[in-house]
């Protein structure tokens, strides 16, 4: 469930207005945010359906209910930046510019997929658009992101890394070893890395409270002298404001920054998990009231930026995009068998 804690309130006190009236977004951009989030939602619902029909294999981890989080931070993506996340990665890839067709085809294991059918849901990569994966081992990708940031500083590129990871991975040694390096290297401006802790409250079926005695997760950044704050990540405007401010600071200083992005995983851990013994239906129902898309649409209506008819049109359009992606994936050929042995080693 989304909550706003003291540190995100602090950002409002800093004088950055949060109302759309003073936000630097025109109507097209605001409508575009709605379109992006709705497309991701309907894309993933279509994927979930296909998974249940047995058309998608392996694992399928959905981002439903967390869309505003990735969208808000990735709005600050600039060419040269590098984005890395774990296996709940569809939204990140789509926001950065991978097409719904190639992402869906990847989920279907088709040769037209984003990584040629070699990775599946957990290993989306779209390097040309700044998306550097897509990793399946909890916590294992975190050191890579810190390395990206070192290279960006070393190469004097002016670019930065956005490193996403879940609340389940913050207990893994890889986070602590990597965060320690980031803090250390950042002292000399050698680590322009935004750590985005996606706190969706569960690592598989284990809640934050059952995984650690220190449940204020962002406090863990203090151990490594990494400045941090929390944000209500189901409030797109809050995320956008936070992202704009902290990415500017990171680019200027070359130091890492930590965000604990509060959200909630309304779907099961993976699409194959039906029994949710670890939480009650009431809890999920309550969380759904804070759905980021509903909240955002409500704001658009409130501000007079969009009408109910506009939103209906966006939903219809998104549905068509998702349907088209499914059709494309279903009609695409499987990878050629000659692909089995390619991409193992580089020349």
């Amino acid at each position: 469930m989304a909550t706003t804690r003291s540190r995100s309130a602090k950002s409002a006190e800093n004088g950055v207005a949060k109302g759309a009236e003073t936000l630097p977004y025109d109507r097209d951009t605001l409508i575009g945010f709605s379109r992006t989030m709705t497309t991701i939602r309907l894309f993933e619902e279509a994927a979930q359906k296909a998974f249940r029909q047995g058309k998608i294999g392996g694992y399928l981890h959905l981002y439903i209910g967390q869309e505003a989080l990735a969208l808000g931070f990735l709005h600050e993506y600039r060419p040269g930046d590098k984005i890395i996340t774990a296996y709940r990665d569809h939204a990140h890839a789509l926001i950065l510019g991978a097409t719904p067709r190639e992402v869906m085809a990847e989920l279907y294991g088709k040769g037209t997929g984003l990584v040629k059918g070699k990775g599946g849901s957990m290993h989306l990569f779209d390097v040309k658009n700044g998306f550097w994966g897509g990793y399946g081992i909890v916590g294992g990708h975190i050191p890579l992101g810190v390395g990206f940031a070192y290279a960006q500083a070393y190469q004097k590129s002016g670019a930065m890394t956005q490193l996403y990871f879940g609340d389940g991975s913050i207990h893994n040694g890889a986070f602590h070893e990597a965060a320690n390096l980031a803090g250390l290297w950042g002292r000399e401006g050698m680590n322009p890395c935004l750590f985005v802790l996606e706190n969706n409250k569960y690592g598989m079926g284990t809640s934050v409270q059952r995984a650690t005695a220190m449940t204020d997760l962002s406090e863990k950044f203090d151990s490594y002298a990494i400045e941090h704050e929390d944000v209500d990540a189901n409030d797109l405007f809050a995320v956008l404001e936070c992202a704009q401010r902290v990415t500017k600071k990171i680019r200027e200083t070359g130091t890492p920054y930590g965000i604990e992005a509060q959200t909630y995983r309304v779907t099961a851990h993976g699409a194959a998990d039906f029994l949710e013994r670890y939480r009650g239906k009431e809890e999920v129902a309550e969380a759904r009231k804070h759905d980021p898309i509903n909240r955002y649409e409500h704001r658009l209506l409130e501000m007079g930026v969009a009408t109910e008819a506009d939103l209906e049109a966006i939903r219809a359009e998104a549905k068509a995009v998702a349907d088209d992606a499914v059709k494309f994936a279903e009609e695409s050929p499987e990878p050629d068998l000659s692909e089995l042995y390619t991409d193992v080693l580089a020349d």
Partner: protein, 327 residues
């Protein structure tokens, strides 16, 4: 030709390539200010600065993963494992990420990463500090595994490693850091996947790599005194693997002994023996013998340690068995 130690050969390869290529950086524990536990990187921080010779905290998973991130994004990092024993802390990064990311990204990523350090035992470091991990790392597709034994190969293969666009597991003969040998001046490379015939012979083929190769040369001298001409093959590279040199030698000698410090089961020697029976079965006059480390964690006491690793006597006995000169 200049003579230098194995250690100096490695250092000169890295220093020369760092002069040529700014994307080459070093990371590891105490490789900078301290000079390197084994002094392989001694003096490099003074020459190249602390942004290129990066002293890390003792956290192999973290810095190996970070180096991998650098390798994916335009740099050519060389990670020092103070010893390969510590690489178990980084296995998730090496196997799950470095070896696979090119494949599961559909070829979008290249990983020019070298991980180097001393491997093997022989200096009484006991169980946790004594491993020969060629077979372990050699198991995984997506990485290359090499093990040079001469200063000549140490430099030439290090230059090949740094210029390769793949993750390289570079296993040094730690016990031989001080051993001297001729090293050509200037830039030269020794390719991977090409074994070296360390000594030519006609009666039996002795095969190994790394620290065992000098041992095989001693065995060959012993056998010479018995009227047996032994050929000694230094594999140099475990993956890719030079099948041709091995098979050609066995076709000539009809007998083979494979020697390794590591444990026998599921090992490099097992693979060599399998390749020989697949490709030179009709040429064999005796079953292939394997001489391996004792199936125990490495012991501390000197006499126990010596008993745990292949010896001249054990290897010579194995050679005599394949020659039917001894039971």
């Amino acid at each position: 030709m200049p003579v230098m130690t194995y250690r100096e050969a490695l250092r000169s390869a890295m220093a020369e390539e760092m002069e040529r290529d700014e994307s080459v950086v070093l990371l590891g524990e105490d490789i900078g200010v301290y000079g390197g536990t084994h002094l392989v990187t001694d003096g490099l921080i003074d020459k190249f600065g602390d942004k290129r010779v990066i002293d890390t905290p003792i956290a192999e998973g973290g810095f190996t993963g970070a180096a991998l991130g650098m390798a994916m994004t335009g740099m050519r990092p060389i990670v020092e494992m103070m010893t390969w024993n510590f690489s178990f802390q980084a296995v998730d990064q090496i196997i799950q990420n470095a070896a696979k990311v090119r494949y599961f990204s559909g070829g979008q990523v290249t990983v020019p990463l070298v991980i180097r350090g001393p491997n093997g035992g022989g200096v009484q470091l006991s169980a946790q500090h004594t491993h020969s991990l060629e077979g372990f790392y050699g198991h995984f597709p997506g990485i290359k595994v090499v093990s040079p034994v001469t200063p000549h190969d140490a430099k030439g293969m290090m230059l090949t490693a740094i210029r390769d666009n793949n993750p390289i597991i570079f296993m040094e003969a730690g016990a031989l850091y001080g051993a001297k040998g001729e090293v050509p001046e200037g830039d030269y490379t020794v390719p991977f996947g090409k074994a070296r015939i360390a000594r030519e012979g006609t009666d039996v083929t002795l095969i190994s790599y790394g620290r065992q190769v000098p041992l095989l040369e001693k065995v060959a001298e012993t056998l010479e005194g018995e009227g047996v001409s032994a050929e000694v093959i230094d594999l140099r590279s475990i993956r890719p693997f030079d099948t041709e040199t091995i098979v050609n030698s066995v076709r000539k000698t009809h007998r083979a002994v494979v020697v390794q410090e590591q444990w026998r089961w599921f090992s490099v020697a097992s693979e060599v023996a399998a390749v020989i029976q697949e490709q030179a079965f009709d040429d064999l006059d005796a079953p292939v013998e394997r001489v391996s480390g004792a199936e125990v964690p490495a012991p501390y006491a000197r006499n126990l340690e010596l008993a745990a690793f292949p010896s001249v006597d054990q290897i010579a006995a194995a050679a005599r068995r394949v020659l039917y000169r001894e039971n």
